[in-house]
Amino acid sequence: MVVVEQLNRWYTIDKKRHQILKDISFHVKRGDFVLLRGVSGSGKTTLLSILAGLEKPSSGKVLIDGEPIAKLPDIHLSHFRAKKVGIIFQHFNLIDSLSLQDNVLVPLVALKIGLQEAKAMAERALKSANIAHKSEAYPTKLSGGEKQRGAIARAIVADPPLLLCDEPTANLDRANSLLFIDALHKLHQEGKTIIVATHDPIFDAIDFPHTIIDLKDGQIV
């Protein structure tokens, strides 16, 4: 499902190279649940952004479902991302001026699906994330937990096989974090491949099979 080989990412600022990721290589099989752990600044978010096709690597191979996402032309990349990858962000990244239902519809724009079908898909996703009762509400009127469930609905609306979560519990209390983990577990049981970047110790207690990748200073340890 995910193949990463000799991945490097660096930024050059004032002619000085700052290495963010160094020679990262790992494979994730379809249906795996992976915890990407590491302290702040260890490169988790950068790695996740590259896996999501939001950022390009400096060198190295990244294949998602056999597609070299760093090399796809833009028009294919947007389509690929909308179809194959769901992303849950630390700060939810919901658009405040759109209702929750419209937020969930946004990823379907790139797939050029008819409005009726798209609405039906959004409704299913909202139900699945247990937030259908708030579909008409605007993000500013939602609690942190509700926003996170809205973000889950948006991530799964196109039924992507891969879910990427970046510090998903950082803005949630313990009860909501546990509910979120429960929701992820359900999605995992449905066959989704899930990669969670986190340094929240609450994930240490999860009791279903998972793989851990520890990152330190941009390298796997």
Binding site: N8, S59, G60, K61, A70, P73, H76
Partner: protein, 321 residues
Amino acid sequence: MNPLFLNNQVIVYLFSEAALLALTILLFAKIVKFLWFWDFRSYSNRQLKLEKEAYLAMTIATLLFTLKSVLLIFFVHTIDKLSLIIPGAMCAAGVISANSYGMDLLFIKLTVIFTLLLFLIANSYDLQAKTYPLFRFKSWVLIIASGLIFIEFFLDISYFTHIDTSTPVSCCSALFGNLEGANPLPFGLDITKLLLLFYMLYLGTIIALTLETKTITLLTLLLFGVIAYYGVVYFFGTYIYELPTHKCPFCMLQREYYYVGYLLWGSLFFGLFFGVIWVIMSQVGYNITKAKWASMLLLTLFVALCSLYVAIYYSKNGVLL
């Protein structure tokens, strides 16, 4: 110093062309780098950087096409205005013939637009695939376009520096008409043979496009382009102006003739363009049937429009010019 260089429009035009030349040099350097180092199978830093830079280069090329198209219209407008200060010139056609560089410059300008349009079409097909299958092809097209733009700039400077404002130029009827010393039809043709060739080459092009025979299509398109130009200037144009001695390719672009020249020359240019595009893209494995049909449609429109002016004149007056 040539007083033409004090003309506002000439200054603006030449500065704009110089700016585009600088952009072309930048583009040329990038394309050479692409052709030298491009290896799509590689995941190295250099290749990933080249893929990012390719977007920049393609954007520059698209911008170049847009600005070159605008500047072509501005160039025609500028030389038309110059007819006021060049003795003997009545419109742009007289000014463009003020020296030997003028027609070459106009031809190069059209070829640059043509080449950049070819690039745009190849680029759009290339980006529809995931592996840039036309990357090298479209890069070579840009190399050719860059070369043509370098030549164009040289011709721009040569043309404007060699216009002598004290020597009268031949224009319109004097240049093309039946007056003493007027240019005869090229290739030893007379009007009957010219018209015969005009309609035969049109039919030949349509048949070749229908049968999808690439070499014959290319040949008939190029021949038709040449014959069509002379056909309009020496025969059909006189029916647009309703004056047998007025043999000018430019005046029909003006308001007095309802700007019909834009439709006429535009349909010929794009008709030829789409036909040639169909041939070239077929050679690299893309059979663009839309281009083929567009070519047939536009060339038919061109021939119909030419013929219509003759038919209208005949039906109104009962005689031919």
